[in-house]
């Protein structure tokens, strides 16, 4: 071969994944009664390019399989074949199957054709007009293709001298692995004690299970060099063994498609015991996930190149200046430094933007998840995705995937009622789950909204009392009851279902989100549904900060939390009952927090009249924080306080300033808690005034 095609494999894999994603989403969006030509064309084009690519690179298994599907799609396209609902599922199965095959190829394995062969039979049957039911083959059908197709059970006990003759069992297993999926078990029964072992003797025997469409001749060919000296039996694989392996494979397949769509290479949630075969596949998959790439828009790259260009110009200008430096050139130097400052900052911003991805990467897995789950549960669900273009940091995105899946599963499983129940309570049979993402301040907010039954407060409370999480005589308001679901060891699932309620509770969701410096809370109205709201910082590393001064101390407010800063002359400050001072800010009342008081530090200005009030927003409310002075604004790199110390209330982290000293970054939500400003009291004030709290 004159050209090494393998260098293009990765591109093919990536494009194929993309094509499969396109097919999947087009299939899920398709209105079966009114098929849009454009949609079919889209699916057809994706299938076509996968076929072309796999043909070019010699992945004939995929090419042949895709060819059959493509032919069917072509018929649908030219209206010669009417597509029905079950065909959509069939095509989805095709997507999953090809995805698994490509994944196997990507991991450098031979792709297994068991599933694809069966699907191919079904597709061919449809093409021939024989089987229009489109029922995918169930597990039993694997036996139809006869023992020769499902696999072989090989017992191989080589002669003790096998290694001396230059034959290596491992090599044979590799060859076998090329024929199909294998699992090997060593038989150690003839292993002597350690003092009798000779290093070049082989004492082992192996039980090999080979799954794949292989003839007996192919299997025995592998052993042809050693067959004379060894004990070799080759038996057709028993039907049930093949079946088990296959079930495992299907399970793997299904699990894969949940994870596939996201760029996150999170570890697979290992919840089901798998067959050896599946385990092997999973183990191999893990080893391959290290080099991840992200796709970056050319516009982002272009602006980066521009920035770097500018930076180079500034640098050469400064260089020039330094050659003949006189006192007169100081203004020029300062100007140059200002430019350098500007460019560095812009460059940094642009580099950060590369890590920002639209949240659609995390959302894209949900249409399929909801589709599959609603079928399993027999519920009718409409999924609405909003704000898909909202960008957030890749790391945050990767780590938010699992909690999101959990929450959506929960909403589907526990939140939404069955269609008949919904109809009985006068709701549309079709339940609605909305995923909404938007930016608010320095945060990204993700909401999971369902219009289901809402949280059952009584059930939650009883459960919590039963578990000893709260005492029976505690008087909890609705919000506090809702919050109980986030406690460890709390799961109200009446029955453990396949979908949720596997013991991973909401506490894990909350913990995961808190690890990202985020919060999650729930609002619920009985009979009307629940809203889970996740708030996350946009990025974990850098923050725009406003430095402020209190006495000798410097603190930092996240710039994005600041609404405004004002100087008060005292006339707008009121004291309300309960000892909380409020500031009348236009037509809103804002509680005042004296930072020196809650932080126990000495301040220059202790009364509201002298100092500055910084109006900040956090936890859905505004507060006015009394400080001595505002200093510079600058970008700060967030350092963890927990790493060597412990969490400090009111402080979200620390940073190192230009002069090498440490400065603490304030956490508005924490400050509000620390100051004990009650949200309810605040709301009351706001409400009585006829304005709504932010």
């Amino acid at each position: 071969m004159s050209v090494d095609l393998s260098q293009f494999h990765q591109v093919f894999f990536e494009e194929s994944y993309e094509g499969l994603d396109t097919m999947e989403s087009a299939l899920l969006n398709m209105d079966i009664s009114n098929i849009n030509d454009e949609e079919i064309n889209e699916i057809f084009r994706a299938a076509h390019s996968i076929k072309g690519g796999s043909g070019t690179f010699g992945f004939m298994e995929i090419a042949e399989f895709t060819h059959v599907v493509e032919t069917l799609l072509d018929l649908i396209r030219s209206n010669e074949f009417v597509m029905e609902k079950n065909h959509v599922d069939l095509f989805l199965k095709f997507v999953d199957c090809v995805r698994t095959m490509i994944r196997e190829l990507e991991n450098g394995e031979e792709c297994s054709t068991t599933v694809s062969d069966e699907l191919k039979i079904v597709f061919t049957a449809i093409l021939e007009g024989g089987d229009s039911s489109g029922t995918p083959p169930t597990d039993e059908s694997s036996t139809e293709s006869g023992p020769s197709a499902s696999g072989w059970e090989v017992y191989f006990k080589p002669d003790v001298d096998v290694l001396r003759t230059g034959n290596d069992a491992v090599r044979m297993f590799r060859e076998l692995a090329e024929l199909g999926e294998i699992s090997v078990e060593a038989d150690l029964s003839s292993l002597p004690t350690i003092d009798k072992i000779e290093s070049d003797s082989c004492y082992l025997a192996w039980n090999i299970t080979l799954i794949g469409d292989v003839s007996e001749a192919q299997v025995s060919e592998v052993f042809e060099w050693v067959v004379d000296d060894s004990d070799l039996t080759i038996k057709p694989l028993l039907a049930e063994v093949a079946e088990v392996a296959e079930v495992a494979e299907v399970a793997e397949l299904q699990e894969d498609n949940v994870e596939n769509n996201s760029p996150a290479n999170s570890s697979p949630d290992s919840n089901t015991a798998r067959d050896v075969v599946a385990k092997k596949v999973a183990a191999k998959k893990d080893t391959k996930t290290e080099s991840v790439s992200i796709r970056v828009g050319t516009d982002k790259i272009d602006s980066l190149i521009n920035m770097v260009g500018e930076l180079v110009i500034t640098q050469s200008m400064l260089n020039e200046l330094s050659k003949e430096f006189t006192v007169d050139s100081i203004p020029k130097l300062l100007e140059g430094l200002t430019q350098l400052n500007l460019h560095t900052r812009e460059l940094q911003e642009n580099v950060m933007r590369i890590r920002m991805l639209p949240i659609s990467f995390a959302f894209s897995r949900f249409p399929r998840l909801v589709h599959d789950m609603s079928n399993t549960l027999g519920k009718k669900v409409e999924l609405i995705l909003l704000g898909e273009q909202t960008e957030l940091d890749k790391t945050v995105m990767e780590r938010i995937g699992d909690p999101l899946v959990h929450l959506v599963r929960n909403s589907l499983d526990h939140g939404l009622e069955m269609p008949d129940v919904r109809a009985a309570s006068g709701k549309d049979e079709m339940g609605k789950i909305t995923l909404n993402a938007f930016h608010q301040g320095g945060n990204i907010v993700i909401q999971i909204i369902d219009d289901g039954a809402g949280l059952n407060e009584e059930l939650i409370l009883n459960k919590a009392i039963e578990r000893g999480l709260v005492s029976a005589d505690e008087n909890l308001v609705a919000e506090e009851i809702h919050d109980l679901i986030f406690l460890p060891g709390f799961s109200t699932a009446a029955q453990v279902t396949d979908i949720s309620g596997r013991g991973v509770g909401m506490d894990v969701v909350r913990r995961n989100i808190q690890e990202l410096n985020g919060t999650v809370d729930v609002e619920s109205k009985a009979g009307q549904g629940s809203v889970f709201t996740i708030r996350l910082p946009l990025t974990l590393a850098i923050l725009d900060g406003q430095l402020i001064k209190i006495g000798q101390e410097t603190f930092i407010f996240p710039l994005l939390s600041i609404v405004e800063s004002i100087e008060t002359k005292g006339q707008t400050v009121h004291r309300v009952s309960g000892g909380c001072d409020v500031l009348r800010l236009r037509d809103e009342y804002v509680p005042i927090i004296r930072l020196w008081e809650i932080f126990n530090v000495e301040a220059e200005h202790e009364s509201v009249e002298d100092g500055l009030l910084v109006i900040v927003e956090g936890d859905n409310m505004k507060v006015a924080v009394l400080v001595d002075d505002l200093l510079a604004q600058q970008q700060v790199v967030i350092k963890s306080m927990q790493q060597n110390y412990r969490p400090v209330s009111g402080v979200s982290g620390a940073t190192i300033l230009g002069d090498g000293t440490v400065s603490l970054i304030l956490d508005i939500t924490g400050l509000i808690k620390l100051a004990g400003v009650s949200k309810d009291a605040y709301k009351k004030i706001a409400d009585s005034d006829g304005t709504v709290a932010a």
Partner: protein
């Protein structure tokens, strides 16, 4: 370290396995920590205080890019003569904690010496009251002419604690 002491220490090393301790002074008493837990010794410099921190936690310091808490060990041991001068030093040590070890600076009056103590030279500390300070004491190392209180510091350094006097502790 006098040459006499040095000779003595070397003699000890050859005899049996021993551990090295960095010793320092606090309130006139000599304390020691396992030298392997010591990362560096720094001079005293002003640090950033942490709001509402336990009394003994003076604040945080920039340790080449990481933020480390600084604990005045003298306060942990109830020593009330707190001076911050040129001799005051911060010993950066690493203590075990859940997860990764924490790097904490401890403020002491002055660094003294490095000693080798064989296992037999370390005696268990006398029955002390169940205070946190007692938990820090691993044993008493003795050489011919002096006694060193050997400490095993923990994450508890940065916890909220009641402070008892170090004298009380020694007397106990």
């Amino acid at each position: 370290m006098t040459s006499e002491e040095q000779a003595e220490n070397e003699e000890v090393t050859t005899e049996e396995a021993s551990d090295q301790y960095l010793t320092f002074f606090m309130g006139g008493e000599e304390f020691g920590v396992d030298i392997l837990s010591v990362q560096e010794i720094r001079g005293w410099e002003p640090i950033t205080s942490i709001p509402n921190s336990p009394k003994q936690v003076l604040g945080v310091m920039n340790l080449r890019g990481t933020v480390s808490p600084i604990v005045d060990l003298r306060q942990s041991f109830g020593i009330n003569e707190l001076t911050y001068n040129d001799e005051t030093v911060v010993i950066i040590i690493s203590v075990e904690s859940e997860g990764s070890p924490k790097v904490i600076g401890i403020v002491v009056d002055a660094v003294s010496d490095v000693y080798n103590f064989t296992r037999s030279q370390v005696q268990p500390s006398p029955e002390l009251s169940q205070t946190l300070q007692a938990q820090y004491v691993k044993g008493l190392g003795t050489t011919d002419d002096k006694m060193v209180i050997l400490l095993k510091l923990s994450e508890q350094l940065i916890a909220d604690v009641d402070v008892v006097s170090g004298r009380q502790l020694l007397a106990g």
